[in-house]
Symmetry: C2
Subunit: 203 residues, 2 copies
């Protein structure tokens, strides 16, 4: 389809521009409410010595934008209005609002959805999927594509495992079979597992 | 747009056909992993004296289909492949596979997504949105449309409230302001709140 091709062209331009400026960009996709914003908050806290910028995608509103703004880092809010995914065109405009000389890492928080974001690359160096144990243990089997096109997977809210009938080994087995990517188990509230994620992202 | 109009026409035909046969149909929308399937399972258990049929929507796989099948009720699996929402055309075909004389209530489980399903009515009598406390307390503010077009809202997994920084009153306030619909607080694992939901659906 033409829209994917057009999107890919813009994504390639974004990537070229980021590379020229030595900015590393990461696209955080994932389920609704899986913990994408909290994970980015914890990464900002951890990486105090880095110059971080954030683009936050939401269908509407500025809830996530305000949560990131309080850290004093450059942040842009993108409201898609109707779409359930970000695309390269929206990112191109969002980047224009940022002073790129003031950042060396760009985190993009995509719209909560395990389907459409997979089809729209944003020109980032890495793409990851954040899911949480509270959604069940069949997420990977049910949405294989988004895991297959990603570089890393975060399974968040492991502090809630004792209160769920979820078999985490089943999820890890599915990942091995369907999308053998780097996996991080985290509890974003306490910050557990975030350090390992940060180290991997920066290498 | 033409696709919404075309969808509406098919939905109207489905509704007419359901009404002729005296079948009540309910569209369960909601976030990924919010508990839609478990709620339908509990409703099936509770409504033993009713003749229930189920259409289960998933992007791929038959996980939810198998969970419903074990109850011995007529169930059809619909895989959308790429789409993050069910539409009336898919339901029309799914219904053809069912013996409608053997059911008087039809539950449809939509794809987990708080955006696109809102735009595609399926010809049902009621539409509901299932969210869970583990997703945070900003779901309604962030996705107003799907709540506004629905008839009821289920806030599930209330057993997990003690382990979340979620203010349930904030969610209820948003509902009152943005989409004043019938609200049910449930813990689908224990079955808490399911009876109230069932009674309201059947009236
Ligand atoms: N117990 C627990 N709660 C968490 C964890 N991570 C996030 N939360 C909570 O889960 C809720 C959702 O977290 P967010 O960071 O808003 O999730 P999100 O993926 O950005 O959500 P959307 O942008 O709305 O899709 C909030 O109430 C968080 O406090 C965790 O590891 N453990
Ligand atoms: N603690 C707790 N767990 C629940 C509750 N309701 C559902 N679950 C669990 O949450 C996970 C997801 O439930 P499902 O019924 O598969 O949710 P769903 O909305 O149908 O998921 P998808 O179809 O994949 O979007 C499962 O592990 C359930 O056991 C609840 O009220 N409390
Ligand atoms: Mg967020
Ligand atoms: Mg389900
Ligand atoms: Zn989409
Ligand atoms: Zn969609």
């Amino acid at each position: 389809k033409d829209i994917y091709e057009a999107n890919r062209k813009i994504a390639a331009e974004i990537r070229k521009m980021l590379d020229e400026r030595g900015i590393m960009a990461i696209d955080f996709m994932g389920s609704i409410g899986s913990g994408k914003t909290l994970i980015i908050e914890k990464l900002i806290e951890l990486l105090k010595d880095k110059k971080i910028g954030v683009i936050v995608g939401d269908v509407t509103g500025d809830d996530d934008y305000k949560r990131i703004k309080k850290y004093g880092v450059p942040v842009v809010n993108v409201n898609t209005g109707k779409e359930c995914h970000l695309d390269a065109h929206l990112i191109e405009h969002a980047i224009e609002e940022m002073d790129l000389d003031s950042i060396d890492i760009l985190f993009i928080e995509n719209i909560g959805n395990l389907v459409c974001p997979a089809d729209f690359e944003l020109g980032t160096h890495k793409r990851g999927v954040v899911i949480s144990v509270t959604e069940g243990d069949d997420m990977v089997r049910k949405h294989p594509l988004i895991f297959q096109i990603s570089d890393f997977i975060v399974i968040n809210k492991i502090d809630l495992l004792p209160y769920m009938n979820v078999n985490i080994d089943k999820v890890l087995e599915d990942i091995k079979k369907i999308a053998p990517k780097e996996v991080f188990l985290t509890d974003a509230r306490s910050g557990k597992g975030i350090k390992e994620l940060a180290e991997w992202l920066l290498n």
